[in-house]
């Protein structure tokens, strides 16, 4: 997974702001969303992201996997990331 060419992200007090400058649309995430975006930047794959979050938040792996997959698909649908394995 990687960010689309015209996508810019910036850390904020509340989390992260994502600017899809080609569509001129702005999205915001909370700190959990920021952590996922950070891992995408670090080129981690979906399995690694889920494993790391489940461990950090001491949450059920399957619930985290469902939430993260939905979030990633939303990023893809909004042309924020590409290269997401179906």
């Amino acid at each position: 997974m990687e960010f689309e060419k015209n996508v810019k992200i910036r850390r904020e007090k509340f989390g992260t702001v994502i600017f899809q400058t080609l569509c001129e649309k702005v999205f915001v995430t909370n700190q959990t969303g920021s952590a996922i975006l950070q891992m995408i930047e670090e080129e981690k794959d979906l399995d690694n992201i889920v494993a790391e979050l489940a461990q950090n938040f001491e949450s059920d792996f399957e619930i985290v996997a469902k939430d993260v997959t939905e979030f990633i698909m939303e990023l893809k649908e909004n042309q924020i990331i590409r290269g997401v394995a179906e």
């Binding site: 015209n6 810019k8 992200i9 910036r10 904020e12 007090k13 509340f14 989390g15 702001v17 600017f19 400058t21 080609l22 001129e24 649309k25 702005v26 999205f27 915001v28 995430t29 909370n30 959990t32 969303g33 996922i36 939430d67 993260v68 939905e70 979030f71 939303e74 909004n78």
Partner: protein, 330 residues
């Protein structure tokens, strides 16, 4: 136009961050680099033509560019006047692109030849936006004094051939609105990425020429039907963006929800928004971070709130847009 969309966290909890005051810095800078222009358009919001007597110097421009990078502002749009007339246009663009900033330039295209198009392609602009206000020389040249439709279309062709993401901006008026459909088809044939339009803004020279420019409600009705049809026809091949609101509706919305952006005019002053006369900062006196803070205060300033509400009921006040008023912001 920037849209703010609220997205939810994986836990579906509502988020802070959609309000402009929650951002550390602006998300977007609209920079009118110069006031000089080689055309004399009937509808120019900035009333461009001659340079302002006190435009930013090269040193001041350099400082401003550095501040944009330091504040991690992700997106800049450079316009004018005609920005390609500015001697430092390409140096500024190179600086922004070398720092990974998304960059758009808005131009009339008259100075874009094959070589300039190649230079733009190398820089990897988010887009170059060309104003094309008509599908025939007769309407285009009536609207854009000293303009030449053939040169403008040639510029579009050079840009698309060079691989530049090229967009057309079309302002509808009483005498060109009937050419909308034809121009969209021409844009598609030229390989244009996106076609931008919306109601003409009653600001600057457009406000002075309102009687001869403003289309009728019936014309607008047909116009938006055409846009819907063309958007469906070219779906997935060429973007057709249209903003259905006029400047008054925009001001009503912005009073409630100001954009996380700054408008910098050629003399370094920061305007609150194009259609209002208020200035909330000056690059010669304030850092960009200070101007961002002042901008946030300015939208809640009683003078701004009262004037904006008055504009909403009395459109004639839009003629004041370029008679700048400095706000006292403690």
């Amino acid at each position: 136009m920037i849209e703010n969309e609220l997205r939810y966290s994986p836990q579906n909890k509502p988020l802070a961050g959609y309000d402009f005051t929650s951002y550390n810095a602006p998300l977007f800078i609209a920079w009118q680099l110069n006031s000089a222009c080689n055309l004399d358009c009937l509808h120019c919001c900035e009333e461009a033509g001659e340079p302002l007597p006190n435009e930013l110097t090269k040193e001041e421009i350099d400082t401003f560019c550095q501040e944009i990078v330091q504040l991690q502002i992700p997106y800049v749009a450079i316009s004018g006047g005609e920005p390609l007339l500015h001697p430092d246009f390409f140096a500024i663009c190179e600086f922004f692109r070398s720092h990974g900033i998304s960059l758009k330039a808005e131009t009339n295209g008259h100075l874009i030849d094959r070589q300039v198009a190649k230079q733009m392609a190398k820089l990897g602009f988010r887009s170059i936006q060309i104003s094309v206000d008509g599908a025939t020389a007769q309407t285009f040249e009536k609207m854009r004094g000293h303009g030449n439709l053939q040169k403008t279309l040639q510029a579009c062709q050079y840009l698309t051939e060079a691989g530049v993401n090229t967009e057309i901006v079309f302002v509808p008026t009483k005498f060109n609105i009937h050419e909308t459909s034809r121009l969209i088809d021409m844009a598609y044939q030229m390989g244009i990425y996106g076609f931008y339009t919306g109601k003409i803004m009653q600001v600057g020279r457009a406000a002075q020429n309102w009687e001869i420019l403003c289309p009728s409600p019936q014309d607008y009705q047909k116009f938006f039907v055409t846009l819907e049809e063309k958007a469906a026809l070219y779906d997935g091949q060429m973007k057709i963006y249209y903003y259905p609101y006029d400047v008054i509706e925009e001001l009503k919305y912005r009073l409630e929800s100001p954009a996380a952006s700054l408008l910098i005019i050629p003399n370094g002053k920061a305007k609150l928004i194009g259609p209002l006369p208020f200035v909330c900062g000056d690059l010669r006196q304030h850092s960009l971070a200070e101007i961002w803070s002042r901008y946030q205060k300015a939208w809640r300033h009683p003078e701004v709130v009262t004037f904006t509400n008055n504009v909403i009921t009395n459109n004639d006040l839009l003629k004041e847009a370029n008679h700048w008023r400095e706000l006292s912001l403690a």
